[in-house]
Amino acid sequence: MVEFLLTFSGSLMLGALLVLINIKAAYHPYHKTVPLIFSSLLILGFGLYMSMIASLEGETAITTMRQATSLAVNGLLSTFPVFFALVTLMMLRISVRPQ
């Protein structure tokens, strides 16, 4: 149960970090980034709080964050074969489509 909670909080933090990196990398002057940064930081903080509750006592915030986010990365990677199967089916479909 603790591991599932850590994975969930890690996925929230991972998602928030992905959004923050994307905002920074894809920035242009007409972007209204402040509300997006604020909402992402809110989700990041909530995920960190959840992971701190779920993790062992005495662990620092950065260690807890690393533990939870790497669990989420692992969970995400484990779903890749399913997506690859779907993409292969799509490739099959475009290969044999009628002229």
């Binding site: 996925s11 959004v19 509300p35 909402s39 989420a72």
Partner: protein, 179 residues
């Protein structure tokens, strides 16, 4: 405890940054360095030492390595198949066959060298659910921001340099279509 774990995380963040830069349209100058940056990040993460990584990071790093062995030929195969697939009555059977050969090879690597059933399905589902929640929150925020009344500030016209740049982009695309 060493600081080598940072290399793994920096590699992952550079991958995401590079992909974000590479796929976007308006930042033409940044888009050029996007995919090389993502490749550099991939290299950093792939060749990061195990030293300093905590247990979950070690598992994730190992899973990432195992995934890359089949995902790289798989992506390449999909790209070749897409290039060889019949479009507007033009068929390229040789390219299609090469693409499918690479795709079958990647499936062979996946089924023989990847621990397909060694991963916890529930963790994968929980991660996807968490990411979907973040995505929904992100979309909700964008919708809220876009619905706010616009300010009365006047947007400045394009500068001469920007005009020349836009004209050169349009010319390049129109020339491509005119062939």
């Amino acid at each position: 405890m060493t600081g080598w774990w940072l290399q793994w995380w920096i590699g992952l963040f550079l991958m995401v940054s590079g992909f974000s830069m590479g796929r976007m349209g308006p930042a033409f100058s940044r888009a050029k360095i996007g995919y090389p940056l993502a490749l550099f990040g991939l290299g950093l993460a792939f060749f990061s030492p195990e030293e300093g990584l905590i247990s979950n990071e070690q598992i994730a790093s190992e899973t990432m390595r195992q995934t890359l062995y089949w995902a790289v030929p798989g992506l390449f195969g999909c790209f070749i198949v897409a290039r060889g697939a019949p479009i507007y009555n033009v068929t390229r059977p040789t390219i299609l066959a090469i693409g499918w050969a690479i795709l079958i090879f990647s499936w062979y690597v996946l089924l023989t060298h990847y621990d397909l059933f060694g991963h916890d399905v529930v963790s994968g589902v929980i991660t996807i659910v968490g990411l979907i929640i973040v995505f929904i929150a992100h979309m909700f925020t964008i919708r809220m921001v876009e619905s706010l009344p616009r300010s009365n500030e006047t947007i400045l016209p394009l500068s001469e340099i920007e005009k020349t740049y836009v004209a050169s982009v349009l010319n390049r695309h129109l020339e491509d279509r005119g062939d």
